[in-house]
């Protein structure tokens, strides 16, 4: 077997608590499908037959009852439950399932919605015998107003600095703005090997990683690493250029000396070579290919640890971890699939005006004289007469009484909107009741969060 897929679905959705305090993030409906259906569908389309899903008990229960998951997902899902208290990072989770991992792995996050050609990432992993291959995409600005927030609150997003080489495939440098106190420093050894580096900041990490099995083994030894994205990836990227004990090169900066001790002890684990290493070495020697030109070193500068990145510039790639992303994803996710916008079991009256970019879920009832534009209506929702829904996301089991006007809002499951309510850019939590004739603008209606 070549690759095992691991889906991380235990995340809390800490950046969109308004939505996730009742529904766990992996089961949030996007385009009337649970969020984790999208990465699973991607894996299925590409040809995977088994996926290891790391999630919480709650999500597992919801998964087993959700019709979409049961019917559409044909792969074998090996669900591993972990505690919900949230102290387990992604790398800790990998350590937890170390017994199940027999080959190289493909780690995905449950909140990734993309139509990338997965073979691009995996080909980099295969062809260059890389230790890490990841996917990144050009970030899109979210233009929709985010409901439930008074005024546009721009949180200071920590930027990521990603350095790639000239071909745009080899990953040379990765750091988060938070870690760089006084400027970005690049090691001389890197500059000597790759004199031209492109540093990009407008990239979003898709959290899709191909990792060698040796990395998982390395994680079991080093229990201090708890997050793949935050710690493991920058560590691997740095290790590409660190000195190995057997290479007689000149000494570099002073900081390398202290790192060297740690590096050399862990080096041999990461560079577990195949049994026929001399043959591979011979083939590389006899091959007249080099990945760079202009200096005297051999292919890959003799380095055994290589990290590659595939940067998508066209196509969809969203990580649904903020409210804005969630809304954007709802807008665009249906375009990924050729499914009919209106579910066959929905009952729509003839005098309803429905835009072509709206989605109606199963068993809905939409009455006369309603207008639904650019919206997503969930399953089993009832929309009474004279309702105008624009630019909104209505989840499952919602009842909207007559005469309501809902614009740019997110209504969570099982809410009831009283008649004549007028909501603009509001966020209505689970099971809430909006009084009739309520006028709301940019408010979030929710109960107190249960402790």
């Amino acid at each position: 077997m070549e690759l095992q897929a691991v889906l991380m679905a235990a995340g809390g959705g800490s950046r969109m608590t308004d939505l996730t305090y009742n529904t766990p993030k992996p089961m949030l409906p996007v385009g009337n499908k649970p969020l984790m259906w999208y990465p699973l569908n991607l894996l299925e389309r590409v040809g995977f037959e088994e996926v290891i899903v790391i999630t919480t008990k709650e999500v597992q229960k919801m998964m087993s009852t959700d019709p979409k998951m049961k019917v559409d997902v044909k792969m074998k899902l090996d669900v591993v439950c972990i505690q919900e208290d949230g102290d387990m990072g992604t790398a800790d989770a990998l350590r937890h399932i170390q017994q199940k991992i027999k080959t190289d792995i493909l780690v995905m996050s449950c909140d990734l919605i993309t139509d990338v050609a997965l073979h691009e990432v995996v080909d980099l992993f295969r062809a260059h015998n890389a230790t890490l291959a990841m996917l990144m995409s050009k970030a899109h600005e979210f233009t929709e107003t985010v409901p439930g927030q008074k005024g546009k609150k721009k949180t200071a997003e920590q930027r990521d600095f990603v350095g790639v080489d000239q071909s745009g495939k080899r990953l040379l440098f990765m750091a988060n703005e938070a870690d760089l106190e006084d400027g970005l420093s690049v090691r001389k050894s890197i500059m000597r090997k790759h004199p031209r580096m492109h540093i990009k900041t407008g990239l979003v990490d898709a959290h899709l990683y191909c990792l060698k099995k040796a990395v998982v083994d390395f994680l079991t030894e080093n229990k201090s690493i708890s997050s793949i994205r935050g710690e493991l990836v920058p560590y691997l990227v740095r290790k590409q250029f660190s000195k190995t004990t057997d290479s007689p090169k000149m000494k570099d900066d002073a900081e390398d000396q202290t790192q060297k001790k740690n590096d050399s002890s862990t080096n041999h684990e990461l560079l577990i070579s195949s049994r026929d290493e001399p043959l591979l070495q011979l083939a590389q020697e006899r091959s007249c290919w080099n990945d760079h030109h202009g200096d005297m070193s051999e292919a890959y500068h003799g380095g055994k640890l290589r990290c590659y990145v595939h940067i998508m510039d066209q196509g969809l790639c969203y990580r649904v971890n903020t409210l804005a992303a969630f809304i954007e994803a709802n807008r665009l996710a249906p375009k990924l699939f050729e499914e009919p916008a209106v579910h066959p079991s929905a009952v729509i009256s003839e005098r309803c005006q429905m835009g072509s970019d709206s989605i109606i879920g199963a068993l809905c009832q939409v009455a006369d004289k309603t207008s639904i534009k650019r919206s997503t209506i969930g399953n089993s929702t009832t929309v009474k007469e004279k309702v105008k829904v624009t630019n909104s996301i209505i989840m499952h089991g919602v009842t909207i009484e007559e005469g309501c006007n809902i614009q740019g809002s997110v209504i969570c499951s099982n809410a009831v909107i009283g008649r004549g309510a007028d909501l603009k850019y509001c966020l209505v939590g689970n099971g809430q009741r909006i009084e009739p004739e309520e006028r709301g603008g940019e408010l979030a209606y929710q109960t107190e969060q249960p402790n």
């Binding site: 690759l3 897929a5 040809g47 062809a127 260059h128 011979l282 006899r286 007249c288 290919w289 080099n290």
Partner: protein, 539 residues
């Protein structure tokens, strides 16, 4: 059952046989005469309404061609004679038909004869049609003059040089479907002279159509195919070594299914992998020989051998093969070649041949004083890599492009060339540009030495670079200078074709010496068939 027609027959047959055995073609008059006699025969037979006679089919071919094969002798009671097998055609004519089986019961002989005649006419017509298409090719390809093509041998052209024949393509597609390997689509407009070859794009790798945790094809083979198609593993030796490495993984991970024998099943398992690698990049001669060797070793495994033992035996064989044919051969060749390098020499090399680099590095270590001129050509620019390796050792080098070869040759004392394969008629198949260098060197009376291991000796015969070659990605020729890419939209210009050839063939007259291993040392180019014959006898 003898009849009058048959009595005439044998005389004519003797004549024909005589003419053929003398190796002459039948002249026009003879042909006409034969035709007349044939018609006479037919008329007689029809009148008598006898058993069928053979129709000696003389197909009139506009190009000079060997006479078609004869049929088996007439006399006996055969109901129907098989229709004549069209002669082994010169390379320009596509695959010949197999003899039609001749068992037709109960119809009347005249009807059958008429049917057969109609069928043969149709075949002849279709053949003429095909010949019209490939006429251009025929005009350029040299005529092989097989003097004694008497036996009805059906020579089939390999499928990878018949890409413009839709039947062959269909057969290939079916075969790949059966093996569950995806078919790689050709890319771009092909220059008409080379439209019979595949042309793929590097941006459309075969892995697009393979499922990602590849189950049908072993992951090591997928990785290898990817490395071939992206050019990460190039060079005859490197490709063979990488192939054998991948096969080692395959053998290690192999388990014999129940009720199967390892010797037969493993060979069948390897077939789809080889098709896959062929689709990624056409196999080289060295790879072909390596595969033949492995298949032979696998089928020679005795059936009572246990699986573990058999596997370790195979892995051992592969190691030995690599050791003998590549590593030790390089050492032996280096030893012979160093004798030819004297102090003060100026050696010219072309492109990046792993063997030639090895020789020069060894010579430098043995303290020979020489300098090297590295000749390079676009679009591969492999000479840069050779330059790097030699300069790293400390050898003083000069670097020129192939357009400057005639300027540089007056100062050159020897030319060392590597080879992709040595063909059975003494021709050297190597990177495109090699024959040019050999030609110019000949004009300047500079000795040309070709270094080649014996495992690259190939039984194929080729006299030109058109018939069998490889077309690389045409987009490699596109270059961006000063921000402008002039050929960016080359596909939209209908009369423009980009041709990126990979190999060419050097005649033996331009090669002075072949340095090879197996204790042979230095042999002339024309001794290659002898070496092949001796090798085959040994095995």
């Amino acid at each position: 059952m003898a009849d009058s027609g048959v009595t005439e027959g044998p005389d004519k047959k003797e004549e024909i046989d005589r003419a053929k055995s003398e190796g002459k073609e039948l002249t026009k008059e003879e042909k006409q005469r034969l035709r007349k006699e044939k018609k006479q025969q037919k008329k007689n037979k029809e009148k008598k309404d006898d058993k069928a006679s053979q129709e000696s089919e003389k197909e009139k071919k506009p190009l000079s061609s060997p006479p078609p094969a004869s049929q088996p002798p007439p006399q006996s009671t055969t109901q129907k004679a098989p229709s004549a097998v069209p002669a082994p055609a010169p390379v320009s004519v596509p695959a010949s038909e197999a003899p039609v089986p001749a068992d037709k019961p109960a119809k009347s002989k005249a009807e059958l004869k008429a049917e057969r005649r109609a069928r043969q006419e149709a075949e002849r017509a279709s053949k003429q049609g095909k010949k019209g298409e490939t006429g251009q090719q025929a005009a350029t390809s040299k005529q092989k003059a097989p003097p004694n093509e008497l036996q009805p041998v059906v020579k089939r052209l390999p499928e990878h040089i018949q890409v413009d024949n839709p039947d062959v393509l269909k057969k290939l597609a079916k075969k790949l479907e059966r093996q569950q390997i995806p078919l790689r689509m050709d890319y771009g407009y092909k220059v008409s002279l080379f439209s019979h070859l595949h042309q793929y794009s590097r941006k459309a790798p075969l892995t697009q159509q393979v499922s990602i945790p590849s189950t049908v094809i072993h992951p090591a083979v997928v990785r290898l195919g990817l490395q071939y198609s992206q050019g990460i593993v190039t060079g005859s030796n490197a490709r063979s070594v990488a192939l054998l490495h991948a096969f080692k993984q395959v053998i290690r991970d192999y388990t014999t299914p129940p009720n199967e024998e390892l010797s037969r099943d493993l060979v069948n398992k390897l077939k789809p992998y080889i098709s896959f690698l062929n689709q990624c990049r056409p196999l080289s001669a060295s790879m072909g020989n390596a595969i033949k060797y492995i298949k032979k070793e696998i089928s020679n495994i005795p059936s009572q051998c246990k699986e573990e033992e058999a596997k370790s035996k195979l892995l051992n064989c592969i190691e030995c093969y690599i050791n003998e044919k590549i590593i030790l051969a390089a050492k032996a060749i280096a030893k012979s070649a160093i004798e030819k390098i004297s102090d003060g020499d100026v050696i010219l090399i072309y492109g990046c041949s792993s063997l030639v680099n090895h020789i020069l590095c060894e010579a430098f270590e043995k303290s020979r004083k020489f300098r090297v001129i590295v000749v390079d050509s676009r679009p591969r620019l492999e000479g840069r890599e050779a330059l790097r390796r030699l300069v790293q050792k400390g050898i003083s080098c000069t670097y020129v492009l192939i357009s400057a070869v005639s300027y540089v040759l007056p100062e050159v004392s020897k030319v060392f060339l590597g080879a992709h394969a040595l063909l059975a008629n003494g021709y050297v198949m190597s990177r495109v540009g090699t024959s040019q260098i050999a030609l110019v060197a000949k004009a300047f009376n500079v000795p040309v030495l070709v270094c080649c291991e014996t495992y690259k000796f190939c039984e194929r015969v080729q006299t030109d670079s058109f018939v069998s070659n490889e077309l690389d990605d045409p987009d490699d020729l596109i270059v961006t200078r000063k921000g402008k890419t002039h050929l960016k939209d080359w596909q939209e210009v209908p009369s423009l074709g980009l041709l990126n050839l990979v190999y060419d063939v050097t005649p033996p007259d331009f090669v002075d010496l072949v340095i090879t291993d197996l204790g042979l040392g230095m042999i002339p180019c024309t001794s290659v068939p002898v070496v092949l014959r001796v090798k085959n006898v040994d095995q």
